[in-house]
Assembly symmetry: C2
Homo-oligomer: 152 residues x 2
DNA sequence: CTGGCTGCTGTTATACTGTAGCGTTATCGC
DNA sequence: GCGATAACGCTACAGTATAACAGCAGCCAG
């Protein structure tokens, strides 16, 4: 006892990587921590900036390599339409999520909607296409901003 | 008579722009022609290269501005996951298409699948999200390449 | 223990993608 | 014509991403 009943995303990532026999090194964990604690998607150079603790002037490849690892492990997602990255909400099973992206407040909602998955799968099947990665990003205005009339 | 029964994408774009009261200028038409005659998506700088007929060394904003216009008019699509552009197959009605992108041969198939549209719409509705633009890109291996065993 | 292998990190330099801003030219309505 | 607006040309630069190579730590077979 003493350990909390609910683990945070970092602890779950630790466990996941141990199970898979891959190494969540301090650099990689740091990038994941930054993404998980952010309230919105971050660009690679924003992450880079956030990693400068005091003196270290890190170079882009450092963060891109960490991101490559985290993407492979499904711990973060890349939002292609924003050139930005976001921590995954349910990394326990591998998936390409679907995203609702508010252009007003920057809020991103990750979905894992079975109807969307199924419709994509069946469309691909019809042409014999073998899907490997799915990019589904819906840009618009979230309910909150619509309510406030902020949508422009 | 004398006019062919089937018009090409350029002629259809001409008619569309006239109907809408917008100008498909020579530069814009040229970019559209390059995209329509390409067998795969082209990056902005590839288009730029293709536009150098003999002497003219064009600058990036020229092609980006033309692309902005063509995107607005729904005459071309942007493939976010490739940073590349492709001519639209059925520009007569505005839409965000869905794309099957083969990582082996570069073939891109544009779909307009009602089931996909509907599942996206209903997922957005559930959260009150108001969609404006949909990015749907499935990366994988096309039937042809799967058949050839090229998929790696 | 040692040497080689592997994987991770650091660093420099550079490639690729996209835009701001400004002056000039063409087009259109009057 | 003439003024307003849209389109274009150009320079410069911002933002995103990767190639290539060097150093280092850990592991493990011999």
């Amino acid at each position: 006892m003493g350990t909390p009943a609910a683990f945070g995303p970092l602890e779950r990532a630790d466990a996941l990587c141990v199970r898979r026999g891959v190494r969540l090194t301090p650099q990689r964990r740091r990038v994941l921590a930054i993404l998980c604690s952010a309230s919105r998607p971050l660009g690679a150079y924003e992450i880079l900036e956030a990693m400068r603790d005091g003196s270290r002037p890190l170079a882009p490849p450092t963060v891109y390599r960490a991101l490559d690892f985290l993407l492979e492990q499904g711990l973060v997602h890349k939002l292609e339409s924003l050139h930005a990255f976001i921590g995954c909400r349910h990394p326990d099973h591998p998936h390409s999520g679907q995203f609702l992206i508010c252009r007003t407040c920057g809020l991103v909602t990750e979905l894992e909607d079975e109807a969307i998955c199924e419709s994509l799968r069946s469309a691909a099947d019809e042409t014999g296409f073998r899907p490997e990665r799915r990019v589904v990003e819906v840009l618009g205005v979230c309910a909150c901003c619509v309510g406030k009339g902020v949508e422009g």
